[in-house]
Point group: C2
Chain length 501, copies 2
Amino acid sequence: MSDLEGKYAKFLEESLKIQRICSVDALLGWDMETQMPEKGASARADVSGQIAALVHDMATGAAYTDALEAVLAEVDALDVDRATIVRDAKEELEKTRKFDPSFVKELATLTSNAHGVWAAAKDSNDLASFLPCLTRIVAMKRQEAAIIGFAASPYDALLDEYDPGLTTASVERTLGELSSFLAPFVDRILASPHTVDARLARFALPVDRQRDVNVALSRELGFDLLGGCFGEAPHPFMTRIHPGDVRIATRYVQDDALNAVFSTLHETGHAFYEQGLPEAHYGTSGGEAASFGLHESQSRLWENLIGRSLPFWKWCAPFLKRHQAFPADLSAEDVWRSLNAVARTPIRTDADEVTYNLHICPRFEIERALIEGTLEVADVRDAWHDGMKKHLGIVPKNDTEGVLQDSHWAAGYFGYFPSYAIGNIYAAQLGEAMRRTLPGLDTMLAQGLFTLPLGWLRGAVHRHGGTLEADEIVRRATGSGLSAQPFMRYIESKYTAIYKL
Amino acid sequence: MSDLEGKYAKFLEESLKIQRICSVDALLGWDMETQMPEKGASARADVSGQIAALVHDMATGAAYTDALEAVLAEVDALDVDRATIVRDAKEELEKTRKFDPSFVKELATLTSNAHGVWAAAKDSNDLASFLPCLTRIVAMKRQEAAIIGFAASPYDALLDEYDPGLTTASVERTLGELSSFLAPFVDRILASPHTVDARLARFALPVDRQRDVNVALSRELGFDLLGGCFGEAPHPFMTRIHPGDVRIATRYVQDDALNAVFSTLHETGHAFYEQGLPEAHYGTSGGEAASFGLHESQSRLWENLIGRSLPFWKWCAPFLKRHQAFPADLSAEDVWRSLNAVARTPIRTDADEVTYNLHICPRFEIERALIEGTLEVADVRDAWHDGMKKHLGIVPKNDTEGVLQDSHWAAGYFGYFPSYAIGNIYAAQLGEAMRRTLPGLDTMLAQGLFTLPLGWLRGAVHRHGGTLEADEIVRRATGSGLSAQPFMRYIESKYTAIYKL
């Protein structure tokens, strides 16, 4: 092994040591959502806080930083992927060093505890009981932004955590572009004399049957169950513990069997990305997803572009029927139409493709205002109502369906919501490019042949891991960086047909 | 806060920091057995190894040892419980300091990996594939014994890990006493013209139904489900992650519904102990069980003394019937007799109360010989067959049912098996004493009133945690230290009646 190879190997080894503790943190998170009993919450919050502080200590400790500096001194002699990884690591280290370990531990403990407070507040529609928590979290996130530093808005510093390169101004512009197309388009749809009945796609199925069929569906799509497993949680999510261990948590609703099917499609899309990351780079940024927005594009592509398409249901309806999990008298075309019914509803995760991004707009405006200090936490319900009225024309009937619906703020995830919109946009860009390469895509979907679309994503997106920026990955795959045009074309064409506009 | 109080608080705080990482290790173990996908095993072994090394570093690091030495200097001024805790901590530290971190990490990684190798070897009846692993583990355990140090036998050093105070000589004596009573008693039972049909108690039940009814049964007994949860694993077990989070893993066998019921009774007994430990001492030895033998006494008391008694089945049969989980035509008396059928069978965990301890004898002899170096790993199958023939009069038909049946050796648990026999003995001692205090015990059991027996155990055993030695806890509760007499009385009286001897 050459001297530089040896130095890189040492850097990788030290990175892996930190990554292993991060994998513990991922397991703690998985467990907290899927299994941990109620009375374990307080001791668990202490464990989470200590693990976060430990990661911080290791990431700023001599063993790691010396190894990094040694390889950094010769970074130009590395191949391009590893040079990127080393430079990213240096940048990350500079950022981590700005934080005092006590701050990191306090925020981890605070958000770990806040989860239970939020969940109880949501259950009992008691916003007041969550506000003191939220006040502390907002204060710490503002402090975090100040510590990281920013040019224009403190919210920029937080956005950068999820989608590097995004700014408050660029998100404002992109959401504005979407909104000025979507808002009048929703009006046109809802004014159409042709209506779509959402209730057709709603049918009951025993939860035990749902468990089996969702795992089977995910396996059919291509999820590797030797390297992953399923669980249940109040809010569906996906997590990678480490290579060979990617997990999907779904929620089963007895009275609405397809609810879980769409969670499964969504989370399987996320899981594909994680199962396709370059394992050789595991432990470094090169072995991670390029951005949250790109991650979300993978889930939305499988959930919406594929999962809400007619060709897919030509395969999926008979598949579910074979598993005794679909009404015998419901046709693929009918369920497909029904699944694409558009409505102004209060809950983001229940929203259709057309109104979904309009749910992001008020969240972005509120987050930004909280972090910029132009909105007080005490006024967050009023801001929610105003925002929903402005963008969606509706007001939630209570806080459970309103400002308390999402867990993100309790977790400290300020700056995350815009990634959902970016994900929808990237998904449409990638979907167009995929179809250019695979003109027979619809036939494949109708036959349940998912290996080629998955293979295309593996090659175009997953295999790069974090060795390229998300926008560069999308540019190489589609010929263009972030562009809302394909998404708007997709929405317009699909819903013009469905609603006969 | 006085100076000494402050020093103790600091010691407790530093202990808790170590304990939190141990709780991560417990969660990794739980997850490995209940959920982790196959391909995650290798990365997980690295995580386990690193966590073990971290615990070792913390337990020998300045932050903890300085805090311990500070309070140790004034230990005589502490109350008796805390003085014991501090002295135990010092003793433990002396032991930990003998180990090199690389040894600890290597053993943890080795045993984490060995689990999969053992499981595959057991599945395919391929002992040869496990032997290289076992050879390395035995070598490391012999090394461990040498590092700890011992007077008479290296096996003494390992026994002490599980049941402090036990020695190779005392185990040999106790097992000898049991064996010379049990072996001829089994002969008498099997020679009785009165037979008991084990098949009566074997009936099928869908696994989904079993899941519900076992959780309900555990709750009825008194398991706190707000501070615990259930899972599934190939081998039933119980683990405490931390206070408020005690977990039971059961295995459901479709064709034999009561198999899981007895696992649930057993693990619930363990869980009661963990849920009853003094939380104020959490993080120190005072907040832990006093010994593995005493722990096992709690599980065996609920599984056997209560769970295989006629009064219990007078309550349990109707309880299960109410849950549609018991044959309508099977009486309490019939199922009780059937559940107490005695037979010479190859699998320890399937053994009845009479033959069970005879399964411990060959394991003890083999372990001891491996650790003392008088038996080669290559000869372990022959030793197994010889031992089973000598103590039980049978030879297993393959290694899956023979030397590969238990996971203990793959996990490095040499010295653990004798605790099972100690547990059976303690359980009988505690059972006799409980009955003296609660003369109406049988009536309570027949009515499903478990609060008083559980309350008695809480007061007599659980609340002491590790502030007293196991033998002292038993002595205070029963008037005598370890004594096999009550167990032999219990077996003789019960089975003389069942088999009309």
